[in-house]
Amino acid sequence: MSDATSTPAAGADKYYREQLEQGNFLIQRCLSCTRGIFYPRMICPHCGSDQLEWFKPSGEGVVYSTTIVRRKAEHGGDYNVALVDLAEGPRMMSRVEDLAPEAVSIGMPVRARVVDGEEGKMVVFTPAEAN
């Protein structure tokens, strides 16, 4: 497939992180059952095949569920934690940025962005309309 990358010579977790550190958000696809996979794995959780390929997802997603973690203002204030369904199928935990945590709603279209986190780069989402 044109958007597939070459097979890495490392475990899926290491390869994912290396790519993410370069600003590339990649997920996997099963060559046997064609389903998208996240988080990175060694076998397909749907059919058991070990024939997986990496590809760059569209970055489009929809908020599947959302919560506001309440935190005192002096510790940084409230923040969002969301589950996002990627257009390619798999779901991931993330957060939606660029709007107040209480404005994040289920069903909201969002778009992925790679940002710097406390322990390396991480994938977050912003409202799709804002992009």
């Binding site: 599947y64 569920s65 919560t67 973690v69 309440r70 934690v81 969301a82």
Partner: protein
Amino acid sequence: MIDKKLRGAVAIAGVGQAGLGQAHGYTEMEILVQAAQRAVADAGLTMQDIDGIATASVTATMWAMPVIEHLGIKPTFIDSTMLGGSSFVAHLMPALQALESGQCNAVLVCYGSTQRTSTIGRAEIANARRKLDPQPYEAPYNPLNPLSSYALVAARHMHQYGTRREHLAEVAVAARRWAQMNPEATQRDPLSIEEVLASRMVSDPLSVRDCCLVTDGAGAYVLVRADRAKDLKQKPVYVLGSSTAVWNRQISSMADLTVTAAQQSGRIAFEMAGLTPKDIDVLELYDAFTINTILFLEDLGFCKKGEGGDFVSNGGIAPGGHLPVNTNGGGLSCIHPGMYGVFIMIEAVRQLRASCGERQIANAQTAVVHGNGGTLSSQSTAILGTQAVL
């Protein structure tokens, strides 16, 4: 395959508790051993009669060994399966098989925690777990786990089925009303729907009153073959069905946040027992959070998916309601020492022995015990009954 010959083959012969609430000055091993000793004595046995053990710890990965050492037993059956809070319900099936096969003759299931009074803070344990049991695809987003995972589930259930915070509050208030009839419960002050709704939000839509307690406590029960149970001290409570299911660990890997693996464990346990939800007199469901009770009522077949909110409305599961649920006051108002599964087993046994005093369900012959562990990760269903339903 469902092994129906195990139905009723084993009975719970003894139960014991210790260190409920706050166990100042005691270690978790010490209160576990007290509970174990009380369960064994309750059965009319001695510790030397115990030749099988099942136990698990929140923190110690080799926990069975120091427990065996402290009890001074030499078991021929050892199970330390750790599935979170459901473990002590999940310990049933391997124990049934071991007893039925003759591998052992008396199994002690036991747990203890001093998380409330321990000098090791829960934040410290959470930090250690982050390193030893990493979830690197969730941790960077700082979910306040386990709470935020259940909050995500509650939010989705509300979105999909119109469940409201008032429904969640009904679960908390029902638990409190049962707790008010249980002298052992740690939270017995009156609690209203309005107070739950007005309580401090922690991870929306769950407030502090939607969350289980943080207490100390230890519990234990003893299993023997049914023929032996008849000759022991207590009225036997038979294990009619048992099944455990895990579909995922992380909330982000749960296919449908409104459907738990309790659908699988419940279906198999009911089939093994040869019973259906309408045959059940009393339910003890692991209510780590108010949404759990609603989910498990649905997934175990007591109401349709999405109708759990209506089911618990107007005091539906409170004293005097249409179905008695969590009659000890639950993890929400009775006790919750890190893992709660052993306490729902104990409460069900007491109901079926008719020894629950003011909160006793009249003529209770059947009970469902449902344990939950992790972040809706493990589900274990047990169906218990008296001689009358064997």
